[in-house]
Amino acid sequence: MTNVTDTPVTAAPLRPWMRLLARGVEAVIVTFARLVCAPRVTVTAPLTAGPTRVFFANHSSNADTILIWAAVPPELRATLRPVAAADYWLPKAVRRFLGLHVFRILPIQRVAAVRDTDPVAQMAAAVDAGSSLVIFPEGQRNRGEAELLPFKTGLFHLAEARPDVAFVPVWIGNLNGVLPKGERLPVPLICTLTFGAPFQHEDGETKEAFLARARAALLALRDEGA
């Protein structure tokens, strides 16, 4: 089991009026995202706030995180922590507020050289605290023609550290058409979010086998959602 460090996984509590502001901003962003993307959500298991899950999705647009976060029911959203890049979200005040208090991201350090915390330990700690995670195992935005980039290994290490946690594949369709790379104006096309069946790390399953299984589960949804 990976050691859990003392890294704080939740932001410092806010003053009441700031908390109110954060929830107000949340309502505005959720409404806007739903208006622009009209997300069509297909589920295999109900999206309740209940059990802790790790949602992993294909990453083709900067809006991926926001779309998943906005499309799920509010009770689930309240426990949801999108795993996101600390170097993007934390330095600037407004983005930091949005990241930590509106989207409730779990900020991780992308560059190993400057890392003072272990992302897997951070994710495990968040899961232990009862949060569900959103993670993009490709590690970067898919800018090319490939349907899905190779997965980073973090997904496996988390699964191995927390074998009782359910992993749920989420295929995001069409979002790249809404805002392709390099474009500024979004086109309000209908997006699809297909949530697959939850699965767990099996005892003794190798890194390759687990990641291949996760990848296949995600790709299977692409054909289903289309």
């Binding site: 009209a38 069409n174 392709p180 104006l185 979004p186 086109v187 309000p188």
Partner: protein, 312 residues
Amino acid sequence: MAFELIVLFGGLFLVLILASGIASVLADRAQTDPDVVANLTDRIRAWWGMIAILGVAFLLGDVGLVVLFAVCSFACLREFLTLVDRKQADHMALALSFLVVLPVQYVAVGLGWYGFYAVFVPVYVFLVAPILSVVRGETEGFLARVSQVQWALMICVFCISHVPALLILEIPGFDGRSLLLVAFLLLVVQASDVLQYTWGKMFGRRKLAPRVSPSKTWEGLVGGVLSAAVLGALLHGLTPFGPFWAFVMALVAATMGAFGGLVLSAAKRDRGVKDWGHGIAGHGGFLDRLDGVAFAAPIFFHLTRFFWQSLA
């Protein structure tokens, strides 16, 4: 006019109450297929919603109807453009379809600026949209891509905007009653759809176009369209037409609506989908509900304008 609208919506609610009653009787009967009843219940519930929203729009008057149909156009355009062949080169044409074409068309309709809204999409947008795509240099599938955007805009924006455009017609002796003409058109086209289904279920034998729409039959089409035309004649009080011409106009609108549904079904088959969207429970998308209206509205508008406004 208020009296006619109250009677009209009162009548519609009575029909819906009857339909809901029949559906609940069907649901209690053991031998009926629960999926069919569930879909019927969804459809009827959606009709309650749609008629309630339409009622509110009528209460708000001209502005309410223009806004309602602008929203419907937006939803249809979104459904259509989601399914077209597109490349990133078309992004600007797509974005401006929503941001500029749709609002400009509806503002022009709202202002009654006929000389502009009648040509804006078929002339200006028709020519400018492919220019926006071509400057990005992508030639693969070019003709198909630009045609599909033009089709989407013609059907979803231009054609549907002709429903509220009816409000601006100035028909001698029909002042201030043009809301009723909108109600007449919508009622005839939607009733024709329901009646075609009913006639088809009861007497349908010969398939109309089995590869396009396996459930549609000639008996359903003819029976549905003719009975919608009779309904139109009965509702002639809503129009400036008189009973006979109300029958003819309803016949034209219902026929256009029926074949419009067929044309857009073929488009759905081509795109490999069963429904345009998922916005209206039991019905599919907005365009599934408005396909007939899109085909009927411009013809109905221009016939009315030509024979009752210009020639009068």
